[in-house]
Assembly symmetry: C2
Homo-oligomer: 79 residues x 2
């Protein structure tokens, strides 16, 4: 079973990596199309479990303790 965790900066938190990418895209001629870029992490977890409900609870614990810095980041979990 596979869980996909997306971790991204909260609204209002500065994202210098996204700014750098937007600037680089502008230099490449995509400036008119691209208004803004935000960058996050995507973690794909291979799980020894077939029970989505209990796995989700465990993956939430992983996010809270390790995968996301919940002061500045939010996360989503998909199966």
């Amino acid at each position: 079973m596979r869980a996909i965790v997306n971790v991204y900066l909260k609204e209002g938190v500065l994202d210098p990596q996204g700014k750098a990418i937007a600037h680089a895209l502008d230099s490449l001629g995509f400036g008119e199309l691209v208004k803004g870029v935000r960058v996050g992490k995507q973690m794909v977890l291979e799980l020894n479990s077939t029970d989505e409900a209990s796995a989700k609870i465990e993956v939430e614990k992983m996010c809270e303790t390790l995968l996301a810095n919940t002061v500045i980041e939010d996360y989503t979990i998909e199966f």
Copy 2:
């Protein structure tokens, strides 16, 4: 309009960041549940466009030229 680009390492390419996360999860007691972790990047692009077909072509160009290293990485584009 928003495009979501996921960039991840190709199968077979070593992922030391994923290995480190898997090891840390093991230390936290999630070792039995988690078989493996792969880490990628997620970029959310805000676009000045309402035409999905033409935007997709442009975003593919961005991936090929800047956002992904296609030697070792694959990417997906979602709208």
